[in-house]
């Protein structure tokens, strides 16, 4: 497999030369080439995902083509890791597809290198979007991505498992101490077969939420770290009493269970993660029902929660069909019928028009209801993560794992992570 950092460097060089070449070309018209019903233009659209998403997307494309006789959409898909290898190569070769499904962690990489179209220059209706959400698709005032859908952080639990252990279901108003003692209770009653949960301090986004609860920024506007080593130590010490007890499933076990999560494998009763993982957890665990409650917070009025685009739509900066691309994006994010097709499989629809036009049932309804229930706590979504954020997130997870293996103590772990983070930020500055 390709080393990602080296690969990206190569791509960056390639991209730079491609951009230099492109600069020699002539500027295109604002709308780009347009088609007619007799002579339609063809745009390419690509996404990642499984069979289920492919079916749904094909339906949405068919619907779009039916409503827009002058545009044909050529849809392609690959798996998630392959998707980014392919995009990196295409970006270097100047052959990015016209419209693409996008992930937040790659938005800044490609946006800063002028690979993506500024969607503010084309006609896409964002009136129905929550104003706190749009900044997450923007970099320095330019809109590179339109969120299709949102997800939010939550604590999952399996009510059947809690009932079998004789533990009352949580209501989601809890402090970290209360959450810890809940995990301990599950772990001790679980008798070695059911553990409380995975170490929630090993999840970057949970740390980010905790920072927000304490009114600390994760990253400053100029792309530096907004918190101190002491903040990180304090965070990792939150569960220092729980490590090595049945409240937290051991790291050895987590590794054995991979690629499935301990929660999906019915080894833990709770899990802290994004609310759109519901369908995956249900399928993996075979549980009849899973429930969602808000994350713990020591300040009951500030849960630090926000809506994050679970997926965005972007267009290639080099697309010849700006107008067609914009109309397709607008359709995919706003049309209620598209909402009916995807339900919550992309996340909860971000556009109110689309959300209100969709009927949610069962699992879908649980996720939508959860996001409604936390509405009053929501704050602005963070800006797109810094370049190389994926590496930082992965090393956060890895160093936390070392902490759980007992290879390092909290001080050593914080030192190690800060060193990696500062090196990376310097490198990408």
């Amino acid at each position: 497999m390709i080393n990602r950092r080296h690969f990206l460097t190569t791509v960056a060089i390639g991209t730079a030369s491609a951009a230099a070449l492109a600069a020699c070309g002539t500027g295109s018209t604002t709308a780009g080439e347009t088609g007619s019903a007799e002579n339609p233009v063809t745009i390419t659209y690509t996404w990642w995902g499984n069979d289920d998403r492919a079916e749904r997307t094909r339906k949405a494309i068919a619907l779009f083509e039916e409503k827009n006789k002058d545009i044909k959409v050529n849809g392609n898909f690959t798996d998630f890791p392959g998707y980014w290898q392919k995009r990196a190569t295409e970006a270097a070769g100047g052959g990015l597809p016209d419209v693409m499904q996008w992930d937040l962690s790659y938005l800044r990489d490609y946006g800063q290198r002028n690979q993506l179209l500024d969607l503010g220059t084309v006609n896409i209706n964002t009136d129905a979007f929550d104003k706190s959400l749009l900044p997450s698709g923007q970099i320095r005032g330019k809109t590179y991505g339109i969120p299709t859908s949102t997800n939010a952080f939550a604590v999952y639990y399996d009510p059947a498992k809690l009932a079998s252990l004789g533990i009352a279901e949580p209501d989601g108003t809890w402090t970290y101490d209360e959450y810890n003692s809940f995990l301990t209770e599950v772990g001790s009653k679980g008798n070695g077969t059911i553990f409380g949960g995975t170490d929630y301090t090993s999840v970057w986004w949970m740390f980010n939420i905790w920072l927000r609860q304490n009114n600390i920024e994760a990253f400053t506007e100029d792309g530096k770290l907004g918190f101190t080593k002491d903040d990180l130590k304090k965070w990792w010490n939150t569960v220092s009493d729980l490590r090595g007890t049945p409240a937290i499933v051991s790291e050895e076990r987590v590794t054995q269970l991979a690629p499935k999560s301990p929660f999906g494998s019915n080894v833990t009763a709770t899990e802290v993660t994004w609310d759109n993982f519901m369908a995956g957890y249900l399928a993996d665990s075979g549980a009849k029902e899973l429930k969602l409650v808000p994350v713990p917070s020591d300040d009951p009025d500030n849960l630090g929660l926000f809506l994050k685009p679970s997926m965005l739509m972007v267009a290639s900066a080099k697309t010849k069909y700006k107008d067609a691309a914009a109309r397709f994006i607008d359709f995919m994010v706003n049309d209620p019928e598209v909402g009916e097709i995807f339900k919550t499989s992309r996340g909860v629809p971000a556009s109110k028009t689309q959300r209100d036009g969709t009927t949610f049932e069962g699992t879908d309804k649980l996720v939508v209801d959860y996001e409604k229930s936390i509405e009053k706590y929501l704050k602005d979504a963070p800006e797109p993560p810094i370049v190389g954020f994926g590496t930082l997130e992965a090393s956060f997870k890895r160093i936390s794992a070392d902490l759980n293996y007992g290879k390092v103590d909290v001080n050593g772990a914080a030192d190690a992570w800060f060193k990696e983070a500062e090196d990376l930020i310097k490198q990408n500055a």
Partner: protein
């Protein structure tokens, strides 16, 4: 009785005494061979366990695969995974993926055999100016990782408008770009006696005739090893098809396999494993049919080298 017994006893006794050290060594050999087989079987079991796990898991329901389930056999035995796998992905039938893989693999075998053998003949038998330099350059391309050339190569094919066709995947095979196979054949050919083509030359044969009638038949072992390896490599190749193919209808199996796994939604491990089992079959059959020749090819090369 005693007189009778003594000779009869002594008769086998004497040779028995005589052969005693040998009979001991026979039992020792048996013990040794027993231990050897036990160790070999254990190792085989360890090595083959993943394959066994894969086959067993392909009959299990999705939620019993991986995770905490270590049992090989499930009580919920079913062929459902195979049914799902054969259904295809996103409206593309699994047979299409198989056909595509087959086209690519057969194309790779044909291309490599044709081009590598001709190039090898030139390097091994024809003296032309700069031969050793070119040979050195060819070997040097072995040291060049594929990842280094990806982007320049992609740009070339993109500019030529050949992306989303099989041409970028196959053209290299027809142009002897696989230095490894050329090298393999050159080495093999160098060990064939030069007297054979000298004799042919005296009879008036040119290069074409020498290559076609003398060299090719003698190179059978090398050609077969090459076919097997290039078939398997092409069958398993993931990165090149990923980069060059856009339309799902053109995807080969390795790309399709990955589509059953999706981090952002649910992964269908059962169907993925079932399809892996199916994808393994052609390679397995190919190997079983030709394995005799692989061993032959490797051993002849070893003897002559």
């Amino acid at each position: 009785m005693t007189t009778m017994a003594t000779p009869t006893q002594s008769a086998p006794n004497a040779p028995a005494e005589h052969y005693n050290p040998k009979s001991e060594s026979v039992t020792a050999k048996r013990v040794k061979s027993g231990i050897f087989h036990a160790v070999a079987l254990t190792l085989t079991a360890i090595v083959l366990y993943p394959a066994l796990w894969m086959v067993a898991s392909s009959f299990k329901p999705n939620d019993e695969i991986g995770g905490g389930n270590t049992a090989l056999w499930s009580n919920n035995f079913s062929f459902d995974n195979f049914v799902t796998a054969m259904d295809g992905i996103g409206g593309v039938s699994t047979l299409t993926f198989f056909t595509n893989s087959l086209i690519l693999a057969v194309g790779a075998v044909v291309g490599t055999i044709l081009s590598a053998s001709v190039s090898a003949y030139a390097f091994a038998r024809i003296k032309f100016p700069g031969r050793s330099v070119f040979f050195g350059m060819m070997i040097a391309t072995l040291l060049l990782p594929f990842h280094v050339v990806i982007i320049p190569q992609y740009i070339v094919f993109q500019q030529l408008g050949l992306v989303d066709t099989y041409i970028p995947l196959l053209i290299g095979k027809f142009l002897a770009a696989d230095a490894f196979f050329v090298f393999l054949m050159v080495q093999f050919m160098r060990n064939l006696p030069a007297e054979l083509d000298e004799a042919a030359r005296i009879d008036g044969a040119g290069h074409v005739r020498i290559f076609g009638s003398i060299m090719l038949p003698l190179m059978k072992p090398a050609l077969i090893s090459t076919s097997i390896f290039s078939f398997i490599w092409s069958w398993n190749d993931f990165l090149a098809p990923l980069l060059y193919l856009n339309t799902p209808e053109k995807y080969p199996l390795p790309l399709a396999l990955r589509l059953f796994q999706d981090q952002t939604q649910s992964s269908d491990y059962g169907a993925m494993i079932a399809m892996s089992v199916l994808a393994l079959l052609p390679v397995l059959i190919f190997f079983l049919v030709f394995q005799r020749y692989i061993v032959e090819g490797v051993s002849t090369q070893g003897l002559k080298g």
